[in-house]
């Protein structure tokens, strides 16, 4: 049989009598053998993507609200672009909303290192990785 990548989105008819065999093959996690006459085509697949901010390790939290960077800061409704992570020139990262509230309370320093806070480069912080089902 022709081996296909599972991401293939080709729609197909799978003959009834072959289904069981096909499932058995999938469950046993065998690589499709080239000798098999079974023709597997994926009719439907469910894509899952995952994103994280490129700010330290994945389980790191914002030092101000203590929520994950991927989570929502108080005052923001949705994670992601609505609640971006920003970096200071000192290299410390916080949710934009969190550090903005801090700087609005007449403070000018980084909550971590107490250096004068200056916004640093914020380009390309986001890393998108795709995962197959």
């Amino acid at each position: 049989m022709e081996s296909r990548k599972r991401q293939s989105d080709t729609a197909v008819i799978v003959p009834q009598q072959q289904r069981q065999q096909q499932q058995a093959m999938q469950f046993s996690n065998t690589t499709p053998s080239t000798r098999s006459r079974l023709r597997v085509r994926i009719k439907r697949f469910h894509g899952v993507a995952k994103w994280t901010w490129n700010a330290g390790s994945e389980d790191e939290v914002c030092g101000i609200c203590q929520s994950p960077f991927e989570g929502v800061a108080p005052g923001a409704k949705y994670p992601g672009d609505e609640c971006p992570v920003v970096f200071g020139k000192c290299g410390h990262a916080f949710h934009l909303q969190c550090v903005a509230t801090w700087l609005n309370s007449q403070r000018t320093t980084c909550p971590y290192c107490r250096q004068e806070w200056e916004f640093g480069q914020s380009s390309d912080q986001r890393r998108v990785s795709e995962q197959n089902p």
């Binding site: 030092g63 101000i64 609200c65 203590q66 929520s67 108080p74 005052g75 969190c98 509230t101 801090w102 309370s105 320093t109 909550p111 971590y112 107490r114």
Partner: protein, 194 residues
Amino acid sequence: MAASGRLNKELAEVGKDDKTSGVKAVAVTPGNLRELKGTILGPEGTCYEGGVFEIDITIPKQYPFEPPKMKFTTKIWHPNISSQTGAICLDILKDQWSPALTIKTALLSLQALMCSPEPGDPQDAEVAKMYLSDRKKFDSTAKFWTESYAQPVNEDDAITRVCEMGFDRDSAKAALEKHGWDESAAVNQLLGGL
């Protein structure tokens, strides 16, 4: 509301290793995260060793952008803590506060302050003066205050003593808890309720 997620997390965190860190904080009334009671064990090797010091913690609305308000409710003889009111002079509880600090780190800072007083920046001038001029007298006074005011209450013993006066266990316990394990205040309440 905004900070309650963080507060919940913080309280869970501070309870995790309270045995080893020597500090803990719990809500005074369940469900109200704005009024907390902190406890610091007197650091070993200091005049406060063996004492249990209680701290009133009030979390302001703007927390963590404003520092928690902390004050000793246990009397303590220390240059940076008022011997009269329990008010604390510590920079991180004032202008040096940072939202990256937590209730736990603030309590740990207080514990560190107990280890190394800063008589140059006193809260209680009289205590600071004694610390600088007569260190022996300071040490013995601080120890005496620890022994007099900061002794842990054995709750079971207190309940038993109140029970011996003819009250049932449940109401004795409730009255003691309400009055911070002050036996005479608890008995007064129980008598008033008769």
